[in-house]
């Protein structure tokens, strides 16, 4: 167990919008995360850099299954599947320079600062599944826009003040999000901070999605009633 260095700095940070709501015309929203590296309360003198900041934005956890199709008997079918437990549904890493210049691979792996480590941690099965399926899942989710690494995502506006912009895609999952900020100096973590924000579908779409899950019988009956009514109305409107 490594001894943590004495932290003479702390980071003060926030997020521009802590409650994002998805309405029917939602097609993405841009968030700004920002902060300042300051001396500890009661500490002496100004802080000295150079600092590096990595911000990890993590969405709600969920179970997931990834499948592989193989060519058998002339047709392509799903034959192998690997389950992921409690993996983030959204994971973006933003930093001010290349991660390998900020810190060492051990720290990156321990803190799971790359999506591949998050995926591997969520698998229970053996080593082969872990490497291949974790990488493929990260690739698929990166193509969907919910996973990503941007090594130029954080900009320092002064020696201690930084800002980062993140655009949430239209298919962003609902729930509680965590933006974890790590401040590095000379390859070591010297300060950490977490900020939360939430994403919720609002209004009608939320009501529809929730009622489908919470009151399925009523939802089904309403759907049938709507169908019967529309069918009857169609006959009436176009009476021949």
């Amino acid at each position: 167990m490594l001894a943590l260095p004495v932290q003479a700095q702390r980071v003060v940070s926030s997020v521009s919008n802590t409650a994002i709501s998805i309405s029917s015309s939602f097609d993405g929203e841009t968030l700004t995360m920002f902060g300042n590296i300051e001396p500890e309360l009661g500490g002496a003198g100004p802080v000295t850099g150079p600092f590096h900041v990595v911000i990890v934005v993590e969405g709600p956890l969920a179970g997931r299954v990834t499948r592989l199709k193989t060519h058998n008997f002339g047709i392509w079918m799903n034959t192998v599947q690997v389950a992921f437990n409690d993996m983030p549904t959204y994971f973006q890493v933003l930093s001010d320079s290349r991660l390998k210049e900020i810190t060492n691979p051990v720290t990156i792996a321990e803190e799971k600062l790359l999506p591949e480590y998050q995926a591997q941690a969520a698998i229970e099965t053996g080593w082969w599944d872990s490497v291949v399926f974790a990488n493929q899942t990260v690739r698929l989710l990166t193509e969907k826009g919910v996973f990503g690494v941007r090594e130029d995502g954080v900009k320092f506006l002064s020696n201690t003040f930084y800002s980062a912009q993140l655009t949430l895609p239209a298919n962003v999952p609902n729930g509680a999000f965590l933006a974890r900020t790590y401040v590095f100096k000379d390859g070591e973590i010297i300060a950490r901070k977490s900020d939360g924000f939430s994403v919720r579908t609002s209004g009608f779409e939320r009501f529809v999605a929730q009622s489908a899950n919470q009151y399925p019988l009523l939802y089904g009956l309403v759907c049938v009633a709507l169908a019967l009514f529309t069918g009857w109305l169609g006959g009436v409107v176009f009476k021949r």
Partner: protein, 310 residues
């Protein structure tokens, strides 16, 4: 104009959805079929996840068949007694079908099953229809009068035990084939997202010898009742009915069907049947291709819903 479909979890162009509903509705009005067997594949081909496509189309088929069923009812063209037995059996079939649907989903084999089933079902039905329609066109061209099979001629199925009198259809036959047909239609309809009318009508005509004046109305009523039950079952079992998707399709479908029905008066019966057969075969071939050709991505990933099932 994009609309976010909460269950399908994707945004689609609402005019595109109403347009597909309208196009399939037009075809259904033209050929006198429910259209589910065209609409479900079409939705799957445009990227809607197959469980959501199947479940939401069941809702749309209810709307599409209701106005037809109502008009036949008003004209007295429905054998309610026969419909009752069919509906009862197909409800049981629908329950079995929905259970099988969930099992297939959890094993990740639903897409494969759908593609294979559609290929086999539409391939065989389309081929039979095409042969029959081409024969009828040739005969009509050569001036031979086609002699319709007479109703009331009994076959071996009618002689099975448990006979019941169906007054409206003037039949006194065993209920066992009736129940068997209902059960099969129920299972197939709930698994594939089709009303089954295009299987039920020939089955009623050729196997049970139901007379032509009640066969379509009875079949429509059966489809409405069975699909209504299936919609509720899918909603409860897998929460995959997307009411916004279904409603957009319903709106297009109801309008399209009216135009299709009037357009159908300009084409001869056999030509319509041949066209429909070609369309059915085209969809079957497309499914065959998705099975045999290499997929765009051999890896796929899916979120697990509550309770561990997708």
């Amino acid at each position: 104009m994009q609309i976010y479909l909460p269950i399908a979890e994707l945004s689609m162009n609402v005019f595109f959805l109403v347009g597909i509903g309208g196009a399939v509705g037009f075809l259904s009005g033209l050929f006198g079929v429910g259209g589910g067997f065209l609409l479900t594949p079409l939705l799957i081909f445009t990227g809607v996840p197959s469980p959501v496509a199947v479940a939401s189309v069941t809702g749309q088929v209810v709307a599409a068949s209701t106005s037809g069923a109502l008009s036949y009812y008003r004209r007295g063209g429905i054998d309610l007694h026969l419909a009752l037995y069919l509906i009862g059996a197909s409800t049981v079939g629908a329950v079995l079908g929905v259970l099988l649907f969930s099992v297939l989903r959890s094993f990740g084999q639903l897409d494969l099953f759908l593609s294979a089933s559609y290929l086999v079902l539409l391939g065989s039905v389309g081929t039979i229809m095409l042969i029959e329609a081409v024969k009828a066109i040739i005969k009509a061209r050569s001036g031979v009068v086609v002699r319709e099979r007479m109703p009331h001629q009994h076959n071996w199925m009618h002689g099975l035990p448990l006979r019941v009198r169906f007054k409206k259809s003037r039949l006194y036959i065993s209920v066992l084939p009736v129940l068997a047909i209902g059960l099969c239609i129920g299972i197939i309809g709930s698994l594939l997202g089709i009303g089954g009318g295009f299987i039920l009508v020939p089955a009623l005509v050729y196997l049970l010898r139901v007379p032509g004046n009640v066969v379509i109305g009875t079949s429509l009523l059966q489809v409405v009742a069975m699909m209504a039950v299936t919609t509720v079952l899918h909603a409860v079992q897998s929460q995959s009915v997307d009411i916004l998707l279904a409603f957009s399709l319903m709106v297009g479908g109801t309008v399209g069907a009216q135009f299709g029905a009037s357009a159908g008066q300009y084409l001869r019966g056999e030509q319509l049947r041949a066209l429909l057969a070609i369309l059915v075969l085209a969809v079957a071939i497309r499914f065959g291709m998705t099975l045999v050709l290499p997929p765009d991505d051999i890896f796929s990933t899916v979120l697990l819903g509550p309770g561990g099932l997708l």
